[in-house]
């Protein structure tokens, strides 16, 4: 039975999120709202130097200050950590060296913020200042004063992939084009700053409440760095006010709060200031993308060669994963027979970059989709048409080993072209007005876990009681994207009960089964599949019990609207609550478990780096942007965005549209105004007034269009919805600007001054 045919099912309905009431009324509790008796304020001493050796550190005067309960320095925190097993290069507090302005030198816990700040001022640190590596391209040629041992030329990681034969592909081409793109470093700017409350009980067990996307990995890192058994560490995720990837790895304050709480013998809470959030960062790196592409006269691509350099900051973080996504997703939206990729992740003395919405794909997709429009212009082919001519033919496996079963991209292209009246507008609008198209795609969850493991990626336990209430126990992390709501909808749908009969207990490592976290757009697909499996198992048990009761085979029974009856005989029905008790006997609670593991065929190829990029399913997006450009001031106004997104099946169209709109805003911010500006390792815009990101007030008209390609392995057909749309909006805008005023914008953000400069250059070149 398909999802849509169940009457009164919440699946496919525009239901509000299950936690919206508490959020809208202000009743909901975020990490910073939580207080335990005796809670101390934790503060961190940050490095004022971009690169320096710590000669001497004297914290004795801080400890003597009345009201100070703990002072911790790097000597007491020797264990290195990092989100990737191959990148354990961070410490809670620096030991011998600081590697960026903002690096963590020491922590204090005190009765008040004022005392804690005074204690920080009393810590004396003697630094030997080292030359700092601040420029991406210079850093990767550096010979001395390297940032980490064992990283020659400050290169954290490089990857070199070659599939097919690009030289042969270029030979077969009628046109070979080379372009270079430069994308500024941008950050998440989640409204909720990072916040962590840590508390030890009398038995030495640690509980941490933190604004995290990855409670499970945080639990493991706390246990490792505090040298405690994992069973003694409990991580609880309260409401989270936005993550966008910035909370998808362990952030120093999460460990600092715990280590301070242990030493102080009292709970410690640390909440970052906005400036600290900017320096904790882990956002999208500055990225240089060089693309060389061969194409036949008919628009068919014959080869692509990409060289990508990313400025990763001072630590590894997710860097290698970012590099690999950039390579793996370079070609996989289209059918390109020959592909080469060279990726370099470079260390510099700045805060570490990391995962940010559309992790690894956004800058490369902007470059490729703009480059593709340049190629189309050179050949005189319509930009929508050149995309149609290079489509994949699923089911298929791309040349780099990504298995694709569902592919709504062609429909996305058609739907935005039709909705925007593309063929009537492209190239036909008055000077200053333009329309552009671009596509994107993204994973529905990484097929391989961050830490190798044979455990399922997600497990959901389900409990049904004699009142007919279902309680979901899930490790999945709601961060505002609708994780809890989608699981509740799936369970309600499968059990034929109303949404308000489903309760959810989530993201508490002591109570809920393992889920790897909210990253790589994995939750709807993986936790959704686990919830679906749990609900189906519960339903099987219930129908078996009811089969005995009715004395008919279970296959003839229907579970609908909280009742069970034989098909065609609604009059004689058994209430679900009663059936639950029959099935649970001799218990009074019926328990079912479901889990999700990725199929072996979806886990990718065997070459080095093949593990990142593969996903059980991919979302697809196509967008059309309409812009107007004031050629006197260079100001760009985005008038309208048509955004088609293939999410497989919209379990909740309201939240899918919300994700698409949010992606568009975030993408517009990066396209037109966001940039972290550094000067000598210091961030010049570490505040929301100076670092400007788009808000609802700046929103153009957005027309979301949902495309449902029904993935055979997605829960009820569903795929990713939270990230893929972001990558399409930037090139759609760049391509629309070309249509409006005839200049290609190859540097992000596309500021008014850059537009004016490009227009001047065009005038010099053409004399018009």
């Amino acid at each position: 039975m398909s999802a849509g045919s169940i009457p009164n099912s919440p699946v496919g309905s525009r239901v509000p999120m299950v936690d919206s009431f508490e959020k809208v009324t202000g009743a909901g509790k975020y990490a910073d709202d939580l207080v335990l008796p005796g809670t101390l304020v934790g503060k961190i001493l940050h490095s004022p130097h971009a690169h320096a050796r710590i000669r001497r550190l004297d914290a004795s005067r801080a400890g003597q200050l009345p009201g100070v309960f703990a002072v911790v320095t790097g000597k007491e925190t020797p264990v290195k950590y990092g989100i990737l097993p191959i990148g354990h290069d961070e410490r809670i507090f620096a030991d011998d060296k600081v590697r960026y302005i903002g690096d963590n030198v020491a922590g204090v816990a005190a009765e008040s913020a004022e005392i804690a700040e005074e204690a920080l001022r009393r810590i004396r640190v003697e630094y030997e200042i080292l030359p700092a590596h601040l420029d991406l391209e210079k850093s990767m040629r550096a010979e001395s004063n390297l940032i980490h041992d064992g990283r020659p030329h400050n290169i954290e990681k490089e990857y070199h992939h070659h599939f097919g034969d690009v030289e042969a592909g270029f030979k077969a081409a009628d046109l070979v084009r080379f372009d270079r793109f430069d994308c500024a470093e941008v950050t998440h700017a989640a409204l909720e700053p990072h916040s962590t409350l840590a508390s030890f009980d009398d038995d030495g067990k640690l509980t941490v409440w933190s604004s995290t996307q990855v409670p499970y990995y945080l639990m493991k890192t706390l246990a490792a760095t505090l040298e405690m058994p994992e069973e003694n560490v409990r991580v609880i995720k309260p409401l989270v006010g936005g993550g966008f990837g910035g909370k998808s790895e362990v952030i120093p304050l999460e460990l600092a709060a715990a280590v301070l709480a242990r030493k102080a013998g009292r709970p410690v809470k640390i909440t970052y200031t906005r400036e600290e959030v900017f320096y904790a960062h882990r956002g999208r790196p500055r990225t240089i993308v060089e693309l060389k592409t061969g194409v036949r006269r008919d628009g068919r691509l014959t080869a692509v060669e990409g060289r990508v350099i990313q400025d990763g900051g001072a630590f590894c973080g997710y860097g290698p994963v970012t590099m690999l996504y950039s390579g793996q997703l370079l070609n996989a939206l289209y059918d390109i027979p020959n592909v080469k990729y060279d990726g370099y992740r470079v260390l510099t003395n700045k805060p570490a970059c990391g995962a940010m919405r559309g992790h690894g794909t956004v800058n490369v997709r902007y470059a490729f989709e703009t480059h593709l429009d340049m190629i189309a212009a050179g050949l005189g082919i319509d930009p929508a048409e050149i995309r149609r001519r290079n489509l994949l033919k699923p089911p298929c496996v791309t040349i780099n080993g990504l298995r694709i079963l569902s592919y709504g991209y062609p429909e996305c292209l058609e739907r935005v072209a039709e909705a925007s009246n593309w063929s009537e507008k492209r190239g036909k609008l008055p000077f200053g007005k333009g329309i552009g198209i671009a596509g994107s795609h993204y994973v529905s969850g990484a097929a391989n876990p961050i830490i190798r493991s044979d455990q399922p990626h997600s497990t959901v336990n389900l409990e049904l009681d004699g009142e007919g209430t279902a309680t979901i126990l899930t490790g999945a992390s709601e961060i505002g994207q609708g994780s809890d709501t989608v699981q509740a909808q799936i369970v309600a749908h499968e059990l034929g009960i109303a949404l308000d009969r489903v309760k959810i207990v989530a993201a508490d490592t002591a109570r809920t089964p393992i889920d790897l976290g909210s990253y790589s757009s994995r939750v709807t697909f993986m936790a959704g599949n686990a919830a679906l499996a749990a609900a189906r198992e519960a339903k099987r048990q219930i129908l078996n019990a009811a089969a005995t009761y009715f004395d008919v085979p279970a296959e003839r029974l229907v579970l609908e609207d909280g009742r069970i009856f034989e098909a065609g005989n609604r009059a004689k029905a058994l209430p679900l609550a009663q059936a639950v008790l029959l099935a649970a006997k001799p218990e009074t609670v019926l328990r079912a478990t479901g889990s999700y593991s990725t199929p072996a065929e979806a886990r990718g190829g065997k070459y080095k780096g093949a593990g990142v990029g593969p996903s059980p399913a991919y979302s697809y997006s196509a967008q059309v942007a309409e812009v107007s450009v004031d050629v006197e001031t260079g100001q760009v106004t985005v008038e309208r965005i048509y955004a088609a997104h293939d999410c497989g099946k919209a379990i909740n169209p309201l939240t899918v549209e919300g994700q698409v709109e949010g992606s568009v805003w975030m993408g517009l911010g990066q396209a037109l105004e966001e940039e972290m500006v550094w000067k000598n390792g210091r961030l010049m815009n570490a505040g929301l007034l100076e670092y400007r990101s788009a808000s609802t007030l700046d929103s153009p008209e957005i027309r979301p269009i949902l495309v449902e390609s029904a993935d055979p392995e997605g829960p009820l057909g569903a795929k990713e919805a939270g990230e893929g749309s972001l990558a399409a909006v930037i090139p759609a805008v760049a391509n629309a600007i070309y249509d409006a005023v005839g200049v290609w914008m190859t540097t992000l953000p596309i500021t008014p001054e850059r537009i004016l400069k490009a227009l001047e250059e065009k005038q010099r070149r053409t004399g018009s």
Binding site: Q635, L689, E690, R692
Partner: protein, 290 residues
């Protein structure tokens, strides 16, 4: 951040306020709407020991017509100016400028006098004050004096107001016949301040050529200014598109332009010319319609 601690005073009359200003001198700051001073105190860019809150002196909050002049009390809020029917008919430049200021909170609490005394280089009011040749009325221990707008703005966040004086009122002349005005600005996308703002009051002669044009510019340099070369090039000319463009091109002549993360100095000067031309054009059209 939290400001340094301070002593808070609430005078009920202008005289009482002047007494306090005299008593505490440089250690004090006058608080009006608080939308410029309080953020500076929180950033500890200002740390007065005494804060003199004049916000409850009702006698400083009015808009009235007297002796053929329009007079606004220093505590008049941006919103009161924006919604004043008297100003809309007699000096529409002021409501038009008020509409471009900040957000709802700033418009409801922020005051004309507070903004002028603060003298932020990106504030909107100075451009309009220059274009209408406003007079600032200052009260001090030795009585009252009037300061012309072009003498009032001295430098970055510095005015001609003495440390023992209080700005009490702003006087402007109503719009004469055959005169139009306009204020246009480029909003900073985050703060809403003027990256560049240009206010124009332009009078047409009987012949249809430009009698007099006054062009006030804010946002470009350390202090707001009259674009004198532009004004000179407009006087006596017929307002053709070409003439306006030629004159507006000089709107930032000789100005040492501000440069920040959003706009370089060169871009600001470029914008000054573009916005000057647009504002002059609009003012000329309005003048022709009166």
């Amino acid at each position: 951040m939290i400001s340094e601690s301070f002593e808070y005073h609430v005078p009920k009359t202008i005289e009482e306020a002047l007494g306090m200003i005299g008593e505490f001198g440089d250690e004090s700051k006058v608080l009006a709407g608080g939308h410029s001073l309080l953020p500076m105190m929180k950033l500890r860019l200002a740390s007065p020991k005494h804060l003199i809150d004049i916000g409850r002196i009702g006698a400083l909050r009015y808009i009235r017509e007297s002796e053929g002049q329009l007079e606004l009390g220093a505590l008049t809020t941006h919103f009161e100016i924006e919604s004043s029917s008297l100003l809309k008919s007699k000096c529409p430049l002021l409501p038009e400028t008020a509409r471009e200021i900040g957000d709802v909170q700033v418009c409801n609490r922020g005051t004309l006098g507070g903004s002028l005394v603060h003298a932020d280089p990106a504030a909107d009011w100075p451009a309009a004050m220059l274009a209408v040749e406003a007079e600032m009325v200052a009260r001090g221990p030795h009585g009252e004096r009037k300061i012309r707008a072009r003498d009032f703005f001295v430098d970055l966040m510095a005015t001609a107001l003495q440390s023992d004086e209080l700005l009490t009122a702003i006087r402007v002349s109503p719009l004469p016949a055959r005169t139009g005005d306009a204020y246009l600005k480029l909003h900073h996308p985050a703060s809403g301040f003027a990256v560049v703002g240009v206010a124009v009051r332009l009078t047409l002669a009987e012949s249809g050529s430009i009698g007099e044009a006054r062009v006030g510019v804010t946002g470009v340099g350390a202090k707001p200014y009259r674009a004198e070369e532009t004004e000179r090039l407009l006087a006596g000319k017929s307002p053709t598109a070409k003439r306006l463009e030629e004159a507006a091109a000089h709107a930032a002549d000789g100005v040492d332009a501000n440069s920040d993360l959003y706009a370089s100095g060169d871009y600001r000067k470029h914008l000054a010319a573009v916005y000057a031309r647009r504002a002059i054009q609009r003012a000329a059209e309005r003048a022709a319609g009166r």
